[in-house]
Amino acid sequence: MIDVFVIPLLKVVIVLNATLVGVTYMVLLERKVIAWAQSRLGPMRVGPYGILQPVADAVKLMLKEDITPTRADKWVFTAAPIISMVPALIVYAVIPFGDRIHLFGRDISLYITDINVGLLYIVSVASVGVYGIILAGYASNSKFPLLASLRASAQLISYEVAVTLTLVSVILMAGTLSMVGIVRAQESSHMWFGFVQPLAFAIFFIGGLAETNRAPFDLPEAEQELTGGFHTEYSGMRFALFFLAEYANMIVVSSVATTLFLGGWLRPFPNVAALSFLGIIPGWMWFLIKSFIFLYVFIWVRATLPRYRYDQLMNIGWKVLIPLAIANLVVTGIIRVALL
């Protein structure tokens, strides 16, 4: 009874709450890091060094008036933020934060579930998230959101191809679709896949930037051209849902990149015995550290690089990343067959 219902439910509650708290603090981290990059201080007033800023933001967003435009399609307008938030959260069901641990005399796994099509589940759930953006633009019944949502969905669909192709080359290396199985494969081959698949890693990271609509690919939110992007007409908590979904997706991309290319919960160089003192840091800490590095790089890139033009974005996606990903996949396949 406890093993079937209580523990999974507890895990779900912990993971969802940790994610939402992490997301709100990601916003603060982003503002701070960008401020430092631009020789500013960032938020300083709410709490020491502004650490209570997310609380103030949340209260402000909840108290704001929730406006639905008169000409909007009301049902779709209400559903769109929900549709973009839910996929971003349910993906965490298969992400392995760590190995099994002993806690209170029980053997507990540090992942909610391990299904045999885990990676495919992540890709398919993420592909449903596009609807939130398309429908938000459509339902607002206003031209800038519509243009932004068309851009956003074209971008997502294009980059999804390249990202999925890199995932296939990782699957070829691991021989399994299970997220836990992929980490175990890296453990048994004594190598993080990031070292054997550097090209796939690079393409995944660039595609991940594009899929989360982050700079330098944040065309859907290009303020100069499109006012606020697809969520121009949204206010209050509904706007906040889009905002949170974007950050939740960033955490998802970081976690997936960590699991596939940086060995998940494994310590660095798991095959070097001289480094075994690193084992005193538990696996889930390694996972969080690696994911955090990714998130930091996301912000760093935003503070550094200017935005691409739309045609450049499409050229990179279709003419550079997809051919490279296909070539990488073919070479990986040949090498795998030759080695077996």
Binding site: V76, N116, I134
Partner: protein, 172 residues
């Protein structure tokens, strides 16, 4: 028992949303109901123990193809309902005829399979396979027993792709 309750619930949702797809006036709403319908079909696959197929169903149909439908529906403005067909009765006669034909076909299939019950193919085939796991079994069967249908399907897709390129790009 629990399985049949789950099956009939999911089947009821699939049929209900399918009815909504064809009866809704607003085309975008209709496409959305289609997505929900596909999600429930994926749930049916999970119930049958075909997790791979369920994930592919969501990835390809709900996440890929219907997004393109939505693009077309949004770009072709269908706010105004299309004009009435000149003779609505002729169309409904045709519709009823086709529905009756499909119903008769389904009845015939049900009757035939009751007379000649098929051997439990899935279980025996799965037991004979050298691999375990849902994805591995699907892959194994596709590249051994069903290789030729698989290749024919991929040829069909390739032809469709070339056709689309030729139609879209007049000067090559």
């Amino acid at each position: 028992m629990a399985e049949s309750i789950a099956f009939y619930t999911i089947a009821a949702f699939i049929l209900g949303f399918a009815v909504l797809v064809v009866t809704t006036r607003d085309t975008v709403h209709s496409v959305l109901f289609l997505v929900v319908d596909f999600l429930f079909v994926a749930a049916l696959y999970v119930l049958l123990g075909a997790q791979f197929l369920a994930a592919i169903q969501i990835l390809v149909y709900a996440g890929g193809i219907v997004v393109l439908y939505l693009f077309v529906v949004m770009l072709v403005n269908l706010k105004r309902p299309p004009e009435e067909y000149r003779d609505p009765r002729r169309r409904s006669v045709l519709g009823f005829g086709l529905s009756a034909a499909v119903l008769a076909e389904l009845g015939l299939i049900a009757f035939w399979s009751r007379l000649n019950p098929a051997p439990p193919l899935a279980a025996s085939a799965a037991a004979a396979l050298p691999v375990t796991g849902n994805t591995e079994q699907v892959g194994w069967l596709l590249y051994t027993s069903y290789l030729i249908p698989f290749e024919i399907a991929s040829m069909l897709l390739l032809v469709a792709m070339i056709g689309a390129i030729v139609l879209a790009k007049r000067e090559l």
